[in-house]
């Protein structure tokens, strides 16, 4: 590996890695569970349409739900069996909500469809390859679950020169990418080549952290086979959150993704290494994304290790296979301790984007914090990788000065949690920022609703004017016919007055029509619990909870 110039990003933290526990154990292959669960909910909160019904037999790799939308790739059965039911079950989602899931009872045969790979993908057009990726159900495996086929279609107006493969697992405890790179370096490198071809990019930078020697050695060995000249391995310092998409781009290229922009705006597409391996499997072997490596770790599980598991496997089965819970198992976190979220039950299925199941032992992780007032020490600003002033965001958010918080770039916060961990007053800053973002979004919704109401009001008004004019004209004609001497203006005025009186005395059933032009905002119902819950959901989907690798294509749009 040649010397490579690295750049810095502002702030960051040295965290205790806790990686040894899981990465020293060999990679285990998960047993076939009795039941597989497939949530239908997509990123936007809507459900995919099931194409199977209870009682159907399905094969491994068979599509069981799909949408014709490019953002929602199909869902495949990860083993053969019978569709038992489609029912509401708890989802592995920070909201803790339930959602409709396809439940497959496996038959133990693991009978697969015929997968047909493409022998020489170099003959394929980018569109053909994207189609493959879409049909294989591939989404970002780094946490955000953004559809890969969309991400590798940056649009003809953006010239992509660099593909970045993100193997920098900066969050403590998580080692699934380390394990993947150590065991399947070829898949990742081949996947990178396919992605390079799709993007017509010149080079690929594959970043691993400097505390992943095994992965690096395996990659270097695999690279020696030749044919990977366009791919460069880069060791990046293990500083949290180097693995965040924007931070990694900064470290590797010195470029910054413009706020509200996407990496392709500056000629870069960033993918998780697991995603690259999935692309390889889909294109060359024709296998859809039906399994992934997941880290099961923490003091609450007897044998921490990485497990190659079928998508849809309940956590309880995976934990069982890792020796089960220890006596001190206390908390269950999906993802890492910085950007993950904890869940109340292990009766949840493994999803494509789930990189880590962390079962915390006693006092391994903290619960709600007791906090003091902010002492404005600035420790938070010092570590913020985005260079925000978290103390000011907190101040304005708390006093409900949403506009000021937006002015201080609230929506640039990636919710990495660095500020939170260093705050000597123990203020749950991230929680506050999420709440403030939720409020800001609710406010925007309200305004949009008000705008909508106003538009409706105005068009109604215009229609009325029109009718009025027509009536007036009719009246004028009538009057003219009668030969009275009143001028048309007077007739019209009288007509208008009459109309106004009529409007006043007969209240319209339509709320918007009662609104006085400039006071319309007051009549719009205030954002109730409903809107707020909705907006909270939006926050979660827009800022990926699973890991620092923000794969969101579209950053939250402008609020004002």
């Amino acid at each position: 590996m040649s010397l490579f110039k690295l750049w810095n990003f502002h702030g960051g933290l040295h965290l205790d890695g806790h990686k040894q526990e899981s990465c020293k154990a060999p990679l285990a292959v998960a047993r076939l569970p009795e039941r597989l669960l497939f949530p239908l909910q997509q990123r936007n909160g809507e459900d995919s349409k099931p194409v199977v019904a209870p009682g159907d037999r399905v094969l491994k790799g068979q599509v069981i739900a799909c949408d014709d939308h490019p953002f929602y790739p199909p869902i495949h059965a990860s083993s053969s069996g019978i569709v038992r039911k489609i029912e509401d079950l708890p989802l592995p989602h920070p909201s803790g909500l339930t959602g409709s899931c396809i439940v497959i009872e496996t038959d133990g045969e693991d009978a697969a469809m015929d997968f047909a790979g493409i022998e020489d993908y170099r003959q394929c057009s980018p569109d053909e390859l994207r189609r493959r990726i879409y049909e294989a159900g591939i989404v970002g495996l780094g946490g955000a679950a953004f559809p890969t086929s969309v991400k590798v279609a940056p649009g003809s107006d953006r010239k992509v020169d660099t593909l970045i493969l993100n193997g920098a697992e900066c969050e403590p405890y998580i080692t699934c990418d380390d394990s993947l790179l150590s065991h399947y370096p070829n898949h990742v490198l081949e996947g990178a080549k396919i992605l390079l071809q799709i993007l017509k990019a010149e080079r690929c930078l594959l970043a691993v952290e400097d505390d992943m020697p095994d992965a690096l050695a395996a990659l270097e060995k695999a690279k020696q086979r030749g044919g990977f000249e366009a791919i460069q391995l880069v060791r990046v310092p293990a500083i949290y959150p180097t693995g965040g998409e924007k931070q990694l781009i900064s470290v590797l290229t010195g470029r910054e993704v413009p706020t509200r922009g996407i990496p392709a705006d500056i000629g870069i597409v960033c993918q998780n290494v697991g995603t690259a391996a999935a692309v390889y499997n889909a294109v060359v072997h024709g296998t859809p994304l039906i399994s992934r490596i997941v880290t099961v770790t923490g003091r609450g599980v007897k044998q921490p290790q990485n497990v190659l598991a079928r998508i849809g496997t309940p956590f309880a089965d995976l934990i069982q296979q890792c020796g089960g819970y220890t006596n001190e198992a206390e908390r269950l976190v999906l993802g890492g301790p910085m950007m993950g979220f904890d869940v109340p039950t292990d009766n949840l299925p493994l999803t494509k984007s789930a990189n880590c199941i962390l079962v915390a032992g006693r006092n391994e992780l903290i619960g709600e914090k007791r906090s003091l007032p902010c002492i404005r020490c600035g420790a938070c600003a010092e570590v913020c990788p985005v260079n925000l002033l978290p103390q000011q965001l907190y101040w304005y958010g708390r006093s409900d000065q949403i506009e000021r918080a937006l002015d201080y770039n609230l929506f640039d916060c990636i919710e990495c949690g660095s500020c939170d961990v260093v705050c000597p007053s123990h203020i749950p800053l991230v929680q506050h920022f999420r709440a403030t973002k939720g409020k800001a979004i609710a406010k925007r919704r309200e305004r949009e609703k008000a705008d909508h109401a106003r538009l409706r009001f105005e068009s109604r008004q215009a229609r009325k004017e029109q009718e009025k004019r027509e009536r007036a004209e009719a009246a004028k004609r009538k009057k003219e016919n009668l030969g009275t001497g009143k001028s048309p203006e007077i007739i019209e005025a009288i007509e208008r007055a009459k109309l106004r009186r009529a409007e006043k005395s007969a209240p319209s059933s339509e709320g918007a029509a009662q609104i006085d032009g400039d006071k319309q905002e007051t009549v719009v119902p205030p954002a109730g619990a409903e809107t707020r819950r909705e907006s909270a959901k939006v926050v979660h989907t827009e800022t990926p909870p699973g890991g620092p690798e923000s794969e969101a294509q579209a950053v939250p749009s402008e609020i004002d």
């Binding site: 976190v333 039950t345 002492i375 990788p385």
Partner: protein, 343 residues
Amino acid sequence: MRFPTAHAPYLAPVNSVNRIMLEVLVALIPGLAALVWQFGPGVLVQCMIALLAAQLGEAAMLSLRRRPIAPALRDYSAALTAVLLAVSLPPLAPWWLTAFGALFAIVIGKHLYGGLGYNPFNPAMVGYAVLLISFPQHMTAWLPPKELSGSALSFADAWNAIFTRTLPSDMTFDALTMATPLDTIKTQLGLNRLLDEIQAGGLFAGIGGRGWQWVNFGFLLGGLWMLKRGIIGWQIPVGFLGALFGISLIFFLIDPAVYPTPLFQCFSGAAMLGAFFIATDPVTASTTPRGRLIYGASIGLLVFVIRSWGGYPDGVAFAVLLLNLAAPTIDHYTRPRVYGHPK
């Protein structure tokens, strides 16, 4: 199995307010030791009085405001205010003066504004300024340093002097007390004497005046330790001392007959205490990195201005209070460039 849930991040916090405050208190020890060495144990008695008054004031205000008392007393913030005030006072100041200053600092300077984190003014300096304005004769009655007098009071003598205003039979307050070097310069310059003549007096030797330079060295030492531990950032002390040194140098070069050397300015009076311990109070200082540099530098400039042309011999307290007022504005105009925003 069921599990409780909370909000991420789930890693334990790496620091706490009481640890920071405690470390600042520890960092005060070298300066405090120098004060005891040069000016006798009176300052320790002052610390005790101030601590007692401040903690009582804190407890009383918290109970009035119906807030839990125990956690606040354990966060050491009132204790720090008390000690910072005590080390700024003349070692033999009467007990009621210290108690009044500490109470004023906590009750008016801190709690009437909303308590920890909400006070716009540095509470210790609020207490100090009120005492300076109300009891100027007591506040200027410093002692001769040991380097000059060769002796210092015993603890018992200091105790009696502070609580009962009695001294051993062979001493009087008038004979015992002495102006500080900065005070001396101010009054003597006012009498149209030149700096050379003034500094020929025994009080002026070394770089910051006898006794005082050791005190400043002590606070500098503690300050450097805090810098190394990351308890304070470099911006405020560097801004403060850099600006004080720079402007003193300019005026010293222009007219050395009237303006003392820049080193004297930095090692005399409350310069080091102010640069490392007073101006760095996070609650009342600027909070952005660039802002802190400007904030520190402005205080340094103001200290020079007040010392040279103002009505008081030292200017740290007033300079800090003035800049406290400007901190929000400074913060507003020194926001760092956020990632991905135009350069």
